[in-house]
Symmetry: C2
Subunit: 280 residues, 2 copies
Amino acid sequence: MTLTNISQVKVFGGWHKQYTHSSTSVNSQMRFAIFLPPNATTNNPVPVLYWLSGLTCSDENFMQKAGAFKVAAELGIAIVAADTSPRGDDVADDVSYDLGQGAGFYVNATQAPWATHYQMYDYIVDELPNLIEQHFPVSQVKSISGHSMGGHGALTIGLKNPSRYQSISAFSPISNPMVCPWGQRAFRAYLGNDKDAWKHYDACELLKSAQSTLPILVDQGDGDSFLTEQLKPENLIAAAHLHQSPLEMRMQSGYDHSYFFISSFIEAHLHFHHQHLFKM
Amino acid sequence: MTLTNISQVKVFGGWHKQYTHSSTSVNSQMRFAIFLPPNATTNNPVPVLYWLSGLTCSDENFMQKAGAFKVAAELGIAIVAADTSPRGDDVADDVSYDLGQGAGFYVNATQAPWATHYQMYDYIVDELPNLIEQHFPVSQVKSISGHSMGGHGALTIGLKNPSRYQSISAFSPISNPMVCPWGQRAFRAYLGNDKDAWKHYDACELLKSAQSTLPILVDQGDGDSFLTEQLKPENLIAAAHLHQSPLEMRMQSGYDHSYFFISSFIEAHLHFHHQHLFKM
């Protein structure tokens, strides 16, 4: 598989690079970004934190705004930021910000017109890590994190693949998409009307169905304007409690839904993942 | 003078806020952003670092991308990010990115059609600090920094007002605008053809004319694509050397002109300014 490098910039002694490639899973051109810490070499492959962004974002928002590289460089962790959907003129879209391009919800769509390209679950779980491990000085040891729609993505992908990830974290995740407007609209479009199909992509349903042993850290601002209607962290706490799945939910007083919030706590998430990425 | 608050977001325990106001110096509506560290109160006014951005930027680029708030919060320094020019439908503009709106060069224009609004020197030196000191829990102790065109602004404004600022720093400044294409184009438009008028806004000319005692720190990437044609750090070194003005110029191997570069070294600049802001 060919990667085309479209940017490379030195940062904190490491490198931020962007690539495009033809994706077989989503059947379109995709772009991603990778941060490589200064100690990443073929002789010293480093673990990877995968970052999944929220609605309307691309690979760039986290990399430009989160302020993650200083500590990632110190800890020797690579970061990969994926795009939030397939893109392009031939890819189905919607005029609203919460469906279609920029709003893939990290599921494999089964419904027309979405199913042709919106196979973001397969892209994130299989294709992207395979590409990263083939082309960069990284190990197969990985964790996953994300924000909002990407927090939902990190929780569901981590919970469904406990052998692939060491730890999960999320900022302001859509915790229970089956019962919030963003999730219901996306799941109806991508997955159809059968709610049993939705349960495979709902973090609360996954935690209710069986115990998870993967460590999970969630930060949630209590000044977040989406808190009550869309995010529902209390449902995630209740679902984790049911089978004693490990979840640390930290309510952060006065913080909102923005990257200013993420930047304030990203270093704590990197230290959390570091504990689990390097314990083997 | 009335300030209109248009955003406020908690970050690192402090606050990022944006305001608009009617400016008497540039005769248009202006916007700025302020970061207030958690310890800033009426009983504990904190010093301020003024940040001047580069071509095409607004008050937002530094605040979203520099990663400055963690250390500014720890050190108790407020940061004010100004806009780079007056804005609006009635403000003269040019189709190119390096003249007109977004490209004020921090001078007082004397030539039509620019002179009506492009009085950015007065705005940054007098009006904005007066507003800030009137409306926020800050002291009159301040330093100044900036990037590229804003590095030129920080150097010239600091050098021309040594009693107002404790220290100056810059990233990739336009060091000698009189002899580079960006500077010549802007100065010809804003100041006319008389090069004696240009000298008042050229850091190298200011350092050549007399000794400066203000401490200056400059970081410059040697992988910066504007280095040779536009930035000319060697001219700044030579001009500072002439009268032994204190200048630390750090060439940073492999870094470019982006905010990734700024983010890599902003903490060092904050520690440098902290030394001088708190020594009184």
